[in-house]
Symmetry: C2
Subunit: 326 residues, 2 copies
Amino acid sequence: MTRNPREREIIKILTGIFGKRSRFPLGFNDDVAAIPSGRDSWIVLKSDMLVGSTDVPPGMSLWQAARKAVVATVSDFAAKGVRPLGLMVSLGLPGSLGRRGIREIGLGLGRGAKEYGCPVIGGDTNQSSELIIDCLGAGEADPRKLVRRNGALPGDVVAVTGEFGNAAAGLRLLLSGKNLVLSKNQSLRDAVLLPKARLNEGLALASIGAVTSSIDSSDGLAWSLHELARASGVQISLETLPIAKEAVRFGDAYGVSPARLALYGGEEYELVVTIRREALARAKRRVPSLITIGRVLKGPPAVSAIVGGKSFSVAPRGWEHFRRSF
Amino acid sequence: MTRNPREREIIKILTGIFGKRSRFPLGFNDDVAAIPSGRDSWIVLKSDMLVGSTDVPPGMSLWQAARKAVVATVSDFAAKGVRPLGLMVSLGLPGSLGRRGIREIGLGLGRGAKEYGCPVIGGDTNQSSELIIDCLGAGEADPRKLVRRNGALPGDVVAVTGEFGNAAAGLRLLLSGKNLVLSKNQSLRDAVLLPKARLNEGLALASIGAVTSSIDSSDGLAWSLHELARASGVQISLETLPIAKEAVRFGDAYGVSPARLALYGGEEYELVVTIRREALARAKRRVPSLITIGRVLKGPPAVSAIVGGKSFSVAPRGWEHFRRSF
């Protein structure tokens, strides 16, 4: 679902093999893949595989895991400003899973599909040693309107669709077995068990043509910012960190840096975008949850944060995989 | 990859959930799924998941397994007469798999992609406890030209694109450890380790508009015939069984019924089609490998075979999963 260093190496090996002959427009370096279709139209595809042992923390139910697989796929469409039209779901199901568990997975997928208006239209089922839910979304886009990762320009504003840190805090509670604390804090619980893809926000931002680059934050805010900086060849300077107040409270209570939760948490599905300065007001009218967090500067790709008047470098670290993070 | 009775039950549970709101044209009962796109155009999608423990027999290398995942997906496009334009590949890779193994998987996927002219355009990688290769193909089709499962009419001819039984024989040799015998028999070896999707044949048959229904035989010849009969509401009467001579030799040598190998083998990717009688000659000119095996009759869905002047019922059994078949 999200990438660790090994996965990045694997992707490098594979794209080295597949990339040679690729005549496809988006290459391997964007959130979605595309096939030129009719005139002014691309078929847009994105797959995201959820693996039971690494993507489903203890305390997350089967329907929540299945719904989350849909959210992860839809989130990449949201970042591109493209509406997903249908989902294909390939399942690997342990032999021990009974009818009830299978039904729960189906209901979770159906719930996600309904939330985002993209029905499950087909799929494949198999027996496997652990739960696998591979969810592929398909849509269509006018290539001129699809928001890329590489269009950020110096002078643009950096913005996000919401605050960060709650998913990382909630995940830590789940992993530490402090489920009672979690159940009393709806924001942390929902962030980790019922994440939301910002589809309406992504479609609205794309429709006004003000967004110069965009990515979702499933690999963590820091990683997403580095991706936009790298793809666009710009520097990003953070002027504020959008930390949720519940994450700050959690950090204070358990001695974890709230900034770390917000920057390196991952499994959050906010959008991270760059917007032309003159379009910012219009964008905020369309997406009231939009928070300005910094600006795009000229210079070799890097991400820095200004804290207390001093500039610090933000490490290009990705999501700390939950099995290693505690 | 292929369906056993449990998988059929699972599909029933899931389609019961997803089907309620489905406004998509092909429903869940065809080889591919479709999304209406521009005028006279559908986006056509098919996913097929290969699972290491159940779909990769001992003796099959990683690149062969990866290539086979492509073949399985392309084969469904072949049955519909639709050209796949691109592949999305989601991988679950065991942590023990090194760079070399990953490269081998990439090369196998690349080889399959090249054979069928449908590049890998994106995907997802994850760590999982066993090898998972979920291969999704995407294409476009004019809905009037896409060949369904449900168009067979009394009077049509039933035909297949090749002989059956070699894959089942080869698989039995692999599972019994008789690799020396297998390596000496190229037809059996290639049938199980290097299966071919009949894409050119499927495209050619669809282009002449003579095929009234079509399915691939990955679940076994008997199952495929039953599917066409059920979907079209017709009877199918087999007049000859297209058993490969190598499968007959194998059956004789090891005391296995060659007819059983051909009917219930599975993991073969021939096309099983029904053709208007008057178009048969033209179809055979376009696809010389086409073999007539029977005819379509009026009556409640059933499949029978005429052997020695007597009519026998062909059981609606699917592929015998290899872990259970020996």
